[in-house]
């Protein structure tokens, strides 16, 4: 990579190509409808998008470790429900938040245990827990209506701002920063990439693969729980079908951001960009009076576009790098050949012509 140009080096970082696409999308929407970047709309759309983006980060972490987590959406919904359930029954702020995050964490640990230690296919395990979480939320809403609570400080999680920056954005920013530091700078993070690239090689290298897998699912569950708490705070009431279909957006966001499903590559930024791209798309379409039913089609097309785009960018980078190196080696070969020829000519100066 050292021989490649600065642009190619930037573009080969996961998430960077999509960053440019995101900027272009924002500019286009802003030109179509100048309300798009108004302070109030912007704050609103960012606050709305943050739970989805946190879920996207969770899925992205699991994907980096070579797995998949389909349960994140409904687990976030259930966590929101559990938080409200705690508040309805008189829990203080901290307890409610802990209950929400804890619900997510428990689901993450169960997923992780089944996948990592019993080695059951992650797709099936999380499909099953998706349904279990969705079902539990339905049951929970039938036990008690999950609304009408007045816990001081809870709505402020999403409805206040600090120096003009929405509080939830600060929370999300801190989470993404921590996640990126863990991924890039800690042993656990590096092991996650190792497991994602090749679990066998990681195992041979002395990494406890099940432990790393378990931790990735636990992180995903915890993030889904946090997303659920923020969802509950923003909505103020939890309905039975909250969170269904979020996994679709989250996985799409991770893939669009440039996290390859094969595992072993990606970063927190890619998840952030991919998630924000879909949220922006949704908001932009809404502002331009496009029927929301088109969104699932747009998401579907965005997945295909994202994967193909990412791969195309990578292919171009690889090709230019190859051309560069081959040009370099050609050059070297020709200079070597020329010097050899001149040396040969020098040595044969005294002899007779060979040709």
């Amino acid at each position: 990579m050292k021989s490649s140009s600065p642009l190619a080096r930037i573009m080969s970082v996961p998430g960077m190509p999509m960053t440019f696409v995101l900027i272009i999308t924002v500019v286009v929407f802003q030109m179509l409808n100048p309300v798009f970047l108004d302070a109030s709309t912007l704050g609103n759309y960012i606050t709305n998008g943050i739970p989805i983006i946190l879920i996207t980060l969770g899925v992205a972490i699991v994907i980096m470790g070579g797995g998949i987590d389909l349960s994140v959406g409904t687990v976030a919904g259930l966590s929101a429900g559990m938080t409200m359930f705690a508040f309805v029954n008189g829990a203080p702020l901290a307890v409610g938040i802990a209950v929400g995050c804890g619900t997510g964490l428990v689901f993450g640990l169960v997923n992780g245990f089944l996948v990592a230690y019993l080695r059951i296919n992650d797709f099936i395990v999380t499909l099953a827990t998706l349904n279990i979480a969705a079902g539990l939320l339905v049951v929970l809403t039938q036990v008690q209506p999950l609304q009408g609570v007045d816990v001081p400080g809870f709505p402020e999680l999403t409805k206040s701002d600090v120096f003009g920056i929405p509080t939830s954005l600060l929370i999300a920013g801190a989470v993404f920063l921590i996640a990126q530091i863990i991924l890039a700078k800690t042993v656990l993070g590096r092991r996650l990439y190792a497991v994602g690239i090749s679990s066998q090689a990681a195992n041979v290298a002395g990494v406890s693969v099940p432990h790393v897998r378990l931790m990735s699912f636990a992180a995903s569950g915890l993030l889904a729980g946090l997303a659920g708490v923020l969802l509950a705070s923003r909505l103020g009431a939890v309905q039975a079908f909250l969170g269904i279909g979020y996994e679709f957006i989250a996985i799409a966001g991770a893939v669009i951001g440039g996290i390859t499903l094969a595992g072993g590559s990606g970063n927190a930024w890619a998840a952030l960009v991919g998630g924000f791209f879909l949220v922006t798309l949704q908001q932009g379409l809404r502002l331009n009076n496009v029927d929301p039913v088109y969104f699932s089609i747009v998401t579907a097309l965005a997945i295909v576009f994202g994967v193909v785009f990412e791969r195309q960018v990578r292919r171009v980078i690889l090709r230019t790098a190859l051309q560069r190196t081959s040009a370099l080696s050609d050059q070297r070969a020709t200079t070597a050949a020329a010097s050899a020829r001149s040396a040969a000519a020098k040595s044969s100066e005294g002899n007779d012509d060979e040709k």
Partner: protein, 353 residues
């Protein structure tokens, strides 16, 4: 191919218990029997009136989807779009009937939509190179989005002709037998024949067990996988036509949740997500098991909101049972290898003597 993969231990093992534990189809049969016994003892209503008859009727849609899903799973893929495609086909059939076209035209249109969806899945997975579940997840979004836009969220009604009551299974065909039952039987038999007796069937197993080896043996992996998705699309279309009749209306979210039921039925029936393993009989019995479990919880008076939890739990139980069965299979193989080596060493010593 199939026999050598699924029956390797079952055929060589003389121990009946070992055979029961390692053969997935026998496992699901025993699950079915245990569930029925529980139902019979706990709820006398189970065998009363039309309960079992209704139970079989209600399992048909999932059964047809699960047959297609099994073929996709065998070829090493997964089709998440079956529910959405089924709903789209149901919507197509219903709207074409509503336009006044004859029934066969409506069914051809629905079938066409199913085939196109299957081809698109195959294209996304084998040509664009998306992972199976991402490609079909995109197809899910696409198909459900199209149906939402076409219906604007209002259920399609007013297409139920008298023939359609027979097609949906609301009116029996001959005696107690309904048309969907006949369709499901024919589909199951032809899928079983396809898998065990034709070249394409062998190719499905080959591609699912080891795509690289299959390609090196001259099998067109891309085309075989595309065909698996087309078969799944056709099954979704047939299920959609039937469900439109059974349901009396086609809401935009008709297919939601059917993909998990179809996958669950196929997995319970012994199909493996790693590809190369699965049985049509297993899919049929798996869908019956699911319907039976839902029936039992209904009889027990558990609110229907628990249905999702139960389906999820059964799916988890099924994969854990598969895991245990895999352990048992490996243990049996090891025992057998040990016995063989002992026997051969015994023979060697005999010869030496």
């Amino acid at each position: 191919m199939m026999k050598s993969r699924t029956l390797d231990i079952a055929t060589v093992s003389r121990n009946a218990w070992e055979r029961l534990v390692v053969d997935p189809t026998l496992g699901v049969i025993s699950l079915l029997v245990i569930f029925s016994l529980i139902a019979a003892f706990a709820f006398p209503v189970f065998y009363a009136g039309n309960n079992i008859y209704n139970l079989v009727g209600s399992s048909i849609t999932v059964m047809i989807l699960a047959i297609g899903m099994t073929i996709v799973l065998i070829s090493g893929g997964i089709d998440l779009s079956v529910g959405a495609v089924m709903a789209l086909c149901a919507g197509t059939a219903a709207s074409v009937v509503k336009l006044g076209a004859p029934l066969w035209v409506a069914f051809l249109c629905a079938l066409l939509v199913g085939v196109i969806a299957g081809l698109m899945n195959g294209f996304l997975v084998t040509r664009v190179g998306l992972p199976d579940f991402i490609g079909t997840l995109a197809m899910l979004g696409l198909a459900s989005g199209v149906l939402y836009i076409a219906t604007q969220g209002v259920p399609i009604i007013g297409y139920m002709t008298s023939e359609y009551y027979v097609i949906g299974g609301l009116e029996p065909l001959v005696g107690p037998v309904t048309l969907p039952m006949v369709v499901a039987l024919v589909l199951a038999l032809s899928a079983g024949w396809l898998l065990s007796r034709t070249r394409l069937g062998t190719h499905f197993f080959a591609v699912g067990s080891n795509a690289v080896a299959a390609r090196q043996s001259g099998v067109s992996v891309r085309w075989v996988k595309t065909q698996a998705y087309v078969i799944s699309g056709v099954c979704a279309a047939i299920a959609g036509v039937i469900l439109a009749g059974r349901n009396n209306n086609v809401p935009a979210d008709l297919g939601t949740g059917y993909e998990i039921q179809a996958i669950s039925a196929a997995i319970i029936g012994g199909a493996s997500l790693m590809g190369g393993r699965g049985r049509v009989l297993g899919a049929v019995l798996g869908s019956l098991t699911l319907a039976l479990a839902i029936n039992i919880i209904n009889l027990a008076g558990v609110p229907s909101s628990f249905q999702k939890i139960v389906i999820g739990a059964i799916l988890l139980l099924a994969v854990i049972a598969n895991y245990l069965s895999e352990l048992a299979r490996n243990a049996a193989l090891r025992r057998r290898a040990k016995r063989d080596s002992q026997a051969s060493s015994l023979e060697r010593t005999k010869k030496e003597i």
